[in-house]
Amino acid sequence: MGEVRPLKPEAQLLKGHLDVLLLAALADGPRHGYAVREALRDGSDGRFDLPTGTVYPALHRLEAAGLIEGTWSTTDGRRRRSYRLTDAGRRRLAADRANWRDFAAAVTTVLDGPPWPATT
């Protein structure tokens, strides 16, 4: 029997879910880009370890969509941009969370198969 190949690298799996993950990373309060990346990595036990440089443009896209809001501040003499959820972002996060739970439950049901004993 041949070697079982992994379905996709995790970076690929993130595609389509990155927006909701970024929104979730901001759910507890404002964060700057590096802290968002850290929250993603730590919250996933290191599985979602995105190149930090690619997190910023994703945040900019969410900002353009009105889901998050960025503000500049000065920290230790250097300018820092932090992001926080907007009302629209909170609504989107809540909706995406609910959708994900339904989807995950359905996939788990299918993958786990019917309860034992199976029908003929």
């Binding site: 930090t52 440089g53 910023y56």
Partner: protein, 191 residues
């Protein structure tokens, strides 16, 4: 800034393409990452190397910025609108017998050529993958497009012999495109 030549070179590579605000934000992130690595006991060279690896290849980062660039996204939006607007105006011109309208040939040629240049420019911006500068071509193209839509709307009541029903579609479609384009311009100018 962290002050390490490796990080400065990394930032300079991206700085040649990206807007100043984006570079400033990246600089802050690089500095923070570098300081974190230093605080774990890494020597400066190793900390700088780890920082750059954390951020990803400059090409990868640049592609991510280009993909999200307001200019590229607006160009895609305008190209998607093109066939709709074109169809409405095409129907208007045919139904209204535009070839009989008192418009000088030179004006017709200039209008057509300008529209063609706008379309090609938008296509160049929309298909950019590695050049942030190229996405900014949309700023000029979008401005000219507003002018072209405006010219059509202003000329229509003057040159059209009579009302034809496709005008009822072409006019609001053009006005909508002008509004969407005008709303996208400030973001393109600042990013």
């Amino acid at each position: 800034m962290a002050g390490h030549h490796l990080i400065e070179a990394y930032l300079a590579t991206l700085g040649r393409q990206l807007p100043a605000d984006a570079v400033e934000e990246l600089a802050d992130g690089l500095d923070e990452t570098y300081q974190r690595h230093r605080s774990t006991g890494l020597p400066p060279d190793a900390a700088a190397d780890a920082t750059v690896r954390d951020f990803g290849e400059p090409g990868t980062v640049l592609r991510a910025y280009v993909r999200q660039a307001p200019g590229r996204r607006t160009a895609l939006m305008l190209l998607a609108w093109g066939p709709i607007v074109g169809l409405c105006w095409g129907a208007t011109l045919v139904a209204g017998h535009a070839w009989t309208w008192p418009i000088p040939t030179t004006a017709r040629v200039v209008f057509g050529a300008t529209l063609l240049v706008v379309i090609v420019t938008l296509a160049l911006a929309a298909t950019s993958h590695h050049s942030y500068h190229r996405t900014r071509l949309t700023i000029g193209a979008a401005t000219v497009l507003i002018g072209l839509d405006g010219a059509m709307l202003c000329a229509l009541p003057v040159v059209a012999a009579s009302f034809v029903w496709p005008m009822a579609l072409a006019v609001p479609v053009s006005l909508t495109r002008m509004t969407l384009t005008a709303r996208a311009l400030p973001r393109m100018l600042t990013h």
